[in-house]
Each structure stands twice: as structure tokens, then as C-alpha cells.
Symmetry: C2
Subunit: 270 residues, 2 copies
């Protein structure tokens, strides 16, 4: 994938995430109107690639979207989805574990909904919550969460080896942009239903969350499941970077229709 | 829902489905270009309605799409999906039961994936297969499948009473249109992956399938879970009828934002 912007937002395996050195307001010198037009144009290419992925039926694609509250996870998935055929894509949102999930290892509920061969899966939050909020709020002791980076690497290695292409996206927003968006949710009656008072508690732990993100991304950006840190303050920048990532990934996978079935040649339906 | 076309395609509870008297080529006097334009315009209204459904979080919506092979189930769902926000809609395709499903009652796997309050669920095939293909191919004896109409009515009554609005759509295509579409799948290398030889076996049982559909729809079109028989030979007619059905249903549900939370008044995010 020769895209310079994608190279910039990639966390090279072995490198530190370097969140503090990256800017959530980065715009790569793009202009808003042409960026939006390019996003639409790119997403129009996805349908045909996705059809070939489904027809080939030998590989799946998993997009993990992970970010702070109000960082634009829903909006990003919505933008991606405009180009996707719903029959072959599944979006899974992960909330706090409940019911049977609470009695199982942290990867159980993730594994259950991973994309099958031929499918695209999009995770809105993910197993990374188990080294992020779980760490910051001390839901389990350090001795437990600190071992999870390795569990995650091993789990993703399994998925990749068995046919799943994995792309992980962190939408990075500034603390000030989050403030504006949360304030909007409080003030606008049609947005208020998205607001939880708990969002403010998490916001108070901003530095702790940043450290947890820094470690999680650094520990788990691998060749088979790389992290991309996408600037999130400007929605049109974010949407274009993610559209490029989606198309570049599918083009790199280059799925193929199965060869024509010779036994069907000349078959007439009566 | 005062739409005359929707009244025509509705199977009134207590009435026979009357498949033989309905025409899969019906176009309601519409013109293709304006029908397509109306479909796009209607679907543009869905997003705002869906947001209110999610915000209200007290009711769900389930669309069941049931039809013969190549009748356009995928295409219909794709068309609907253009207007939907992926975060709140789940599409579930049901194939022949496998694994644990084979050991459970026929409604178990259906119940598992029903839409939650605030969500929209779309079923591509459904529990109706258990009184259609299962009946036609004698997978279970008559004494078993014939009792399932009642099980289905009771199950759907439960869902409806607990907050799920249910709309069931049968896409009706002619035997000749199916022939053309299956032949396309055989002849076009980019379509061939959708073709299974078993489709031809089912096609040979066309009259038996029509009887099974007639009975299933007649037995289960209820006030709380009505069937609509949508003409399927012309995709643009089908897509417009389904778009009208989706929008009319959501407008009839008329979901509301929760009242403003007074305790948040004046709250400033810092």
C-alpha cells in the first residue's frame, strides 16, 4: 500500500504509538470539498471489491475501530458503510460485558462474532477495552491486564493465519474537541440520548486513558494486525483516511472470482 | 398506513394469500425513472426516523424477507440499506441449520438474533423456511411442520407484545423470471458463485413451494405480524414498494426523542 498518508498514520510494528507527537487536527494539506469528493469516489469502488471477496470466500476482513467517547466511531462506520453491501458486512458494538460474557475470558465474545471467510466485520470498540477502560478503572489487577497484550497478539495471529485480514484504527481526538462534542450532546435535545454522565468520569481520567492507549497500540501493532492512528478532530479528514485504508486494504488483498465451473458449461435452466 | 399500494400488497389477516391471483409483474402504473427517484427520496427519510427509534429505545422493528431463489432478497435488502444507519440495523441470513442449531427447536436461532429495542433487524430468509423447504422436502413429517404455524403465530405475538414491530415481505417472482436469473448466474462468471445446483432441484418443486408459501402466508398473516406480497419481477417496482413499507411503518411507529433530562440543564463540560 503505497499511499503516503497511510504510511504516516501507520504505527510500524516495533515502534511506539507516539500519540503525543501526532496531531488530531492534521489535515495532510487537503481541502475539505475535494476530500469529501475523493471519499465518495473511493467508497464507490468498495462494492465491486467486496463482491469479489464474497465470491472468493477464502479470506475475511476485520476493521477494529477504537477511540475515546465522542471521537466519531459511529460516524466513521457510517461513512465506510455507504460503500458496503450490507449482505457481507457485520458491525458489532461492544459495551460493558453482561450475562454469560462476564463469566468468560475477555476474547470469547470477540471470537464469537469475528468475520467469516468472504465477510467484512467492523468492531465499534473491541477486545482493546480490556486493556483500556479495564486498566484505567482497575476492573482487574495489573497482573491480569498486563498479560493481555500477549493474549491479544496471539489471538490476532490465529485469525490472520486462518484467513482474516486485520486493520486496527484508533481515532485520535483532542481533549478540547471532545469537550465541544460532549457539550453539544448535553445541550441538544436530539443528541442528549447519546450522553452518559459516565462519559465525564472517563474524561477526568484523560491522561490515564492516553497512557493506556499508548501502551496498547505500541504492544499490539504487528505486521499481521497493524494499528493506524487517524486524526479525528476533522470528520472529513478522518473519513477520507479511513476510506483510503479500506480501499487500499481490499485492493491489496485483491480477491478473485473462482474459476468458471466447467461442469456448468452449456447448462440450460428449464 | 393509508398508502393504496401497501393496502393492495397486504394480506389481510384471515384472508387467503391468493398468490395465484397476484401478478409478479404488477407495476401499479408507475414509470421506472420516477419510481427510482421516489425510492431514493423515501429512503432519505429513514435515517432521521431511525435515529428517533434508537433514541426512544422502547421498540424494535423486524423486517422478514422471504422468497424463492433469485427472487431478489439480497438486492431488496441492499436497496433498503441505502437509507439506514448501520449502527442500528442488523441483517441476518439464515442458511440450513448447522451445529448446535440442529439440536434446538426451529425458533431458537431466530430468537437469538431478534432486534433489541431501538434496533432494526432484517432477516434474509427466516423461521418460515421451517414450513417451506422443510415441508416441501419432507425434512420433518407433516405432524411436525403443520403445528409450526401456531408456534410461529405465538412467537411473533410474544415479540410484538414486548415491543417489536414485525413486517413480513414475500418477494413474488414468476417462474420465467427465475429461469432468466438462474441462467444469468450460470452464464456469467462473476455471478456463478451465487449459483448452487440445488437451486435447480428446488425449481423442479415450484408448484409444491407455491402451495407451501400460500399456506404459510395465509396461516400467519396477523394484525401484529402482517404479510405483504411484493411483486418481484421488476426490481424498481419491488424496491419502491419496500421503501414505502419501511417509511410508512416507521412513520406509523412515530418514535420520539426522550424528554430533555432536566438534571443536565446548565451542565458545563470542563
Amino acid at each position: 500500500m503505497a499511499d503516503d498518508v497511510l504510511k504516516k498514520v501507520l504505527v510500524e510494528p516495533g515502534d511506539k504509538a507516539g500519540l503525543a507527537k501526532r496531531s488530531p487536527t492534521e489535515d495532510f494539506g487537503w481541502d475539505k470539498e475535494s476530500a469529501k469528493a475523493e471519499t465518495i469516489k473511493l467508497l464507490a469502488k468498495v462494492d465491486a471489491l467486496q463482491t469479489r471477496l464474497a465470491a472468493e470466500r477464502s479470506r475475511g476482513l476485520l476493521f477494529v475501530i477504537q477511540a475515546m467517547d465522542a471521537a466519531g466511531k459511529d460516524g466513521t462506520i457510517r461513512s465506510m458503510h455507504a460503500g458496503l453491501n450490507p449482505a457481507g458486512v457485520h458491525v458489532h458494538g461492544f459495551k460493558a460485558p453482561a450475562g454469560r460474557e462476564t463469566g468468560m475470558d475477555f476474547l470469547w465474545r470477540i471470537h464469537e462474532v469475528c468475520p467469516a471467510r468472504g465477510e467484512i466485520g467492523i468492531f465499534n470498540r473491541s477486545h482493546y477495552e480490556d486493556v483500556l477502560v479495564v486498566r484505567v478503572k482497575n476492573f482487574v489487577p495489573r497482573s491480569v491486564w498486563s498479560k493481555r497484550y500477549e493474549h491479544i497478539r496471539n489471538f490476532e495471529k490465529l485469525l490472520a493465519a486462518e484467513g482474516t485480514r486485520i486493520v486496527k484504527v484508533h481515532l485520535q481526538i483532542s481533549k478540547e474537541e471532545q469537550r465541544l462534542r460532549l457539550q453539544d450532546r448535553i445541550d441538544d435535545p436530539t443528541e442528549q440520548w447519546k450522553f452518559r454522565l459516565g462519559d465525564l468520569d472517563d474524561r477526568k481520567l484523560w491522561p490515564q486513558f492516553m497512557r493506556a492507549y499508548e501502551d496498547a497500540i505500541t504492544e499490539t501493532s504487528t505486521a499481521y494486525a497493524p494499528w493506524y492512528i487517524v486524526p479525528g478532530d476533522r470528520k472529513w479528514v478522518r473519513n477520507l483516511v479511513v476510506a483510503r485504508l479500506l480501499v487500499a486494504t481490499l485492493e491489496d488483498m485483491n480477491p478473485q472470482f473462482p474459476p468458471p465451473d466447467e461442469s456448468l458449461k452449456g447448462l440450460q435452466v428449464v
